[in-house]
Symmetry: C2
Subunit: 198 residues, 2 copies
Amino acid sequence: MTSATETTPGSNAQRERRRRILDATIALADEGGFDAVQMRAVADDADVALGTLYRYFPSKIHLLVTALGRQFDRAEQQSRSRQVPGDTPHERVMHVLGVTTTALQKQPKLTEALTRAFMFADASVADEIHDVGMKLTAMLTHAIDGTDQTREPTEEDEAIVRVIGDVWLSALMGWVTGRTSAADVTRSMDVAVRLLLR
Amino acid sequence: MTSATETTPGSNAQRERRRRILDATIALADEGGFDAVQMRAVADDADVALGTLYRYFPSKIHLLVTALGRQFDRAEQQSRSRQVPGDTPHERVMHVLGVTTTALQKQPKLTEALTRAFMFADASVADEIHDVGMKLTAMLTHAIDGTDQTREPTEEDEAIVRVIGDVWLSALMGWVTGRTSAADVTRSMDVAVRLLLR
DNA sequence: TCCAAATCTAGAACGTGTTTCAATATCATA
DNA sequence: TATGATATTGAAACACGTTCTAGATTTGGA
């Protein structure tokens, strides 16, 4: 038994199963969105029994929100190191939002699946949701303050970041449900950021 | 055939059926929330066949979003006439939000059902969603400007109203999914309004 | 190495949103 | 009023999330 490949608990075989499940989830979501992530299909593709899938993730929502967390981790790792370009908080925040929105547009089905799961999550998924919220907050706060650390994040910064996150979620909701366009998302964010960071 | 009881199309019997369906929907939602609004139960309570229910409303989401629109109409009628108290836009907006949030808290199950439907609605419900959005926008714009009509709603007013609506939806989402408290909703709104109307 | 406990598998089964269909009822009009 | 079109009914059937069960298989400790 080699060890320490991950911090996830369980035996090697279990970590492997978990990875296969999340990979299958992302692949199915990327192809067909929320509806295509069917529990029987995930189990089949991941080569586990349906009961096992439910042992690892107690519901489709848990499964998708966990997958969202993993995606967020990867995106954050990519962006954390780099300095955010832009001379003002406004410019930097819009840059981060722009880059992210562009990335989401490239995998619209996946975005739809993960966003819907996030919206539908109830109290039993509070931990995972909180996790995702923290990562988003960290990303935006980092953008407001810049990497040069000229100032500490103030309480006001945090409040602004929360409002931006809310507007973003609403905009994403409109987009993934097909009621608005991706350009509308950018437009909404631009207006909100202009109002908040002035 | 007496006429002109409503602007809704169809025969008297059809308008009656439609009303019974929406009444049953609201009653079930008020008692047990989103999950309790089961299509078979709605059909039974409204004394129509399941197929008839689907002829009137093509999905559970359409049904609930239409019910939401009806509730909004009633709330709007109540508030439209009255002058919104408060000397500043901030005070007036917070008053409207406070009154509405209090009302929603009194029927948490109903709020949960209608909010969830709103969040889940896809493009096929765009018209109904747009309708609800317009009503909310009108209410908030009215509050910002006051009844005394000292000024026209500016483009900025409209942008602010949209952002407030977004924050409100996010806050409601957290509350109806049991992840945050009703007090958190008020707090979120207060912070957002303070940031936007300064 | 052997055994008990934990885990995994295959598959059936249940609940609820949605679809479908044949039979019946209602309506609008000639 | 008769008749064809339209609406309603009742019931069955399907899809997918979820639960449950009985029998392998794996695992970890004596």
